[in-house]
Symmetry: C2
Subunit: 487 residues, 2 copies
């Protein structure tokens, strides 16, 4: 595919505003600042302008070679547009149009077969149909509305245009930015494996994420993922594994989904990281992005606030497959030198709210816990809104410590610790909400989460999400035999 086109033709651009389609795509390219030339194609718009650009009646009438064609005509017209592509020698095509095999109807299947035939005959490289195509921030191309312009090392291959839009739209708050996003829908010609092969050697891609509904060549996928996964973690969300999900897959991209057992086998063989939702895809990708050192094992220390929260935390980590050994007697002895016994628990989980909120104590606690030979990774569960941080808090609470400042210093200290500690044990942060209110603690939590991530520490809104993602990160390294036993 042309990931860095100089010229783009949009076939099926309308002179009227649309919910979604050719004219929207032109608007989005313009908004993103695409530096090349855009050619709206519409036989009824000859001599007119569409979004300030001269419209052409057909592809062959465009005065220069076209690097990328975006097709958004009705389905019945797509075959003849593809014939035009061949005539215009335009080989890279994204078909947005839906209405093919996924309809389950004769006419759709017939059109799908025809596209395959034309593509083969003309050597066309087609993304789609029934998809959002390419999003490459560096090249300033995207069909997505208000797409982020920042680039990053994550690629996303998605059979759903919606998931592509949603992941691209929400990933930046988690510090995730993209090299290439390819929404490829029905995969009538190019399939996930073709894109995967490209990404394997793409120097701008370090982590590969995928949303799959079906795969044409399972053997090839298995071989490729096995090969790529040790160098570039491959994170896969397979949709439609339940019975109703499988039915939805058929209506969506017309794919054959495969059974749960087949996919279980695939994940066991390849060591690819399995996720089951967009939320988990986001969390796991963030974890791989920001944790640089492989852990020694799955034994975590959980530093949090509240005894009930310790119990809940132990349950949650345990269910996620993490272990939570009691700290060594030596570590507990050191901690007891400055952590009073009243209202604290220092076995593990550690119930030490006052330590987390007191920067001096927090700094003192970090080293002994990180040095504990029974501990491989540390989770900080920081309470947001526990101690009078809202405007109008009791004078008492305000006196004790100005809260916002404490959070800022937590970020500084934990970021320094996470990068500089000789133990190189992974550190993640959970921001636990103790109070509600749309503009209050909830907003502060979202802000702080973004700030922690900017400081290089993966931060999650719940321990469920953090422990699940951390467990997958550890599992990946276990599979690769990369557990840093020797460090």
């Amino acid at each position: 595919m042309a990931f860095n086109p100089k010229t783009i033709a949009v076939v099926g651009a309308s002179t009227k505003p649309q919910w979604m389609g050719g004219t929207t795509f032109i608007a989005n390219l313009q908004q993103l600042g695409f530096p090349g030339r855009i050619y709206p194609i519409n036989p009824k718009a000859e001599g007119m302008e569409i979004r300030g650009l001269k419209a052409y009646p057909s592809l062959v009438s465009v005065p220069e070679p076209i690097d990328l064609v975006i097709v958004s005509t009705p389905a019945a017209q797509v075959p003849s547009v593809l014939e035009d592509c061949i005539a215009a020698n335009a080989r890279n095509i994204h078909i947005f149009t839906a209405g093919f095999d996924e309809t389950g109807e004769e006419e759709g299947k017939r059109l799908g077969a025809k596209i395959r035939e034309i593509a083969q005959r003309g050597g066309l490289r087609i993304v789609g149909p029934n998809c959002m195509g390419l999003h490459v921030p560096k090249a300033r191309i995207s069909t997505l509305e208000q797409a982020a312009t920042e680039s990053g090392p994550v690629a996303f291959l998605s059979q759903s245009g919606g998931h592509a839009g949603q992941f691209v739209g929400t990933a930046p708050i988690h510090g995730i930015h993209f090299s290439k996003v390819i929404s490829f829908g029905n995969a009538l010609t190019l399939d996930s494996t073709d894109f995967l092969e490209y990404l394997a050697t793409d120097p701008e891609t370090k982590i590969i994420t995928m949303y799959l509904e079906g795969v044409k060549d399972g053997g090839r996928l298995t071989r490729l993922v096995k090969e790529i996964n040790p160098q570039k973690p491959v994170i896969i969300w397979k949709g439609g594994l339940t019975e109703s999900g499988g039915r939805a897959v058929a209506s969506h991209t017309g794919s054959l989904g495969g059974t749960e057992a087949i996919w279980d086998g695939f994940f066991k063989q390849t060591g690819a990281v399995r996720v089951d939702s967009l939320e988990e895809l986001t969390d796991v990708t963030m974890t791989f992005l920001y944790l640089s050192h492989p852990p020694k094992g799955r034994r975590v220390a959980l530093m949090g606030a509240g005894g009930g929260n310790s119990v809940a935390g132990a349950d949650v980590c345990s269910r996620a497959g993490l272990e939570m050994p009691t700290l060594t007697e030596e570590t507990r002895k050191i901690l007891r030198e400055f952590i009073p016994p009243e209202g604290t628990i220092i076995r593990n989980p550690l119930d030490i709210g006052m330590v987390l909120m007191d920067i001096t104590l927090l700094e003192r606690a970090l080293e002994p816990i990180a040095s504990d030979p029974l501990i491989d990774a540390i989770i900080f569960a920081l309470p947001i809104g526990l101690f009078g941080m809202r405007p109008g808090a009791t004078a008492q609470a305000q006196e004790t410590q100005p809260q916002e400042d404490v959070y800022q210093r937590q970020i500084t200290i934990l970021s320094k610790f996470s990068k500089g500690s000789p133990h190189r044990k992974p550190v993640v942060v959970v921001l636990q909400l103790w109070r509600g209110g749309v503009g209050g603690a909830a907003g502060q939590r979202a802000r702080l989460q973004a700030e922690f991530i900017r400081a290089g520490i993966p931060a999650y809104p719940s321990l469920e999400r953090a422990s699940r993602a951390l467990a997958k990160f550890i599992q990946y390294h276990e599979f690769q035999g990369q557990l840093a036993e020797g460090l």
Copy 2:
């Protein structure tokens, strides 16, 4: 217990600010506007004032009967404070102080035994020790900081003070308000069953929620819950069911937690609603509060946007135990009269983003779907940020429809439909984020969630949470044999 005290003594109030403890509790009572009289007790503060109140050297020196005593002295002093209670004829006591059986040490256990002995001898009704005691918004009493003043029909019995604070602090955004919250920690004298018995006949309580670590009399709990649950749904979060969780329980409240198998049996016998986290407790409570009619069964229609989202939605609902039958041919025929086939799926899940965002179409779609005999409940998964709603959106998108206004009209229409529909099928809303940004779509989502709930419709930030909560609501009614077969 005295849930409506006129006088409160706080033993162990300090003249200095504290992180938490007697003086903080006085501050919190004052902030909440407690209308009665508060007596700070501190032998070293005789003749001084604490937070503007005259301090007394001991309970017996207080000039009037004391309805509630809050004890926050060091653990070693608690026995003599209790002797003072007997002398002052003060029978209702909340012991905040920790350091008893939960320490696992001889001294703590000895003190615990002593408290039990004194309580029995003096007929003392003790909440605690090692807890936050009572929170009764209507009586304006609470040890919690900045507690909400609004009352509601939900009671919460919690062995964790932290969970009590967190639930009380975050519940209002979910439209949950409390009749009584009792944080009872180690339960050295009064146990969950004692409070449960009280709540069974409390006219202000309609739903009972609990966080339990251990129970002294399992048989009594089973009998009580069985009896109460059909009238007042009992929602229980049992903490510490994993091995590390069980260890954390021992350090927290010194309870014997019981095994997973025992609790499985308990839930099967009683039909109590089981939840496994504070998040789930919140979601399920909101669902019981706002869904007034029991459903006929577990067959849901899911109306959302995006084909990939349909697949994900089917998987999620299916895993939560909901069924998702294809709509009847008749319903589909009616829908096809005004929903164009391109880019939509109307089998179920319904991929109809454009319908959800077009108020006229949305209104037309509601009735046929609600009338479908195969459907028992409806989930609306509304996309937030899908179509150019952020400031700076493309002119194109802005022209198409002003988004904020669409959401407001969705709230009006769905609320009217949910209350007025003759089918009385439960309706819930999911607000799916399609874009990030702390102040952008995420903030708008939180605002809209609150507005939907205010309009009487349970609203959740993810389908995972909605389907899980809805499934528990249905399961409760299945157990009660209250499925509305006849309606």
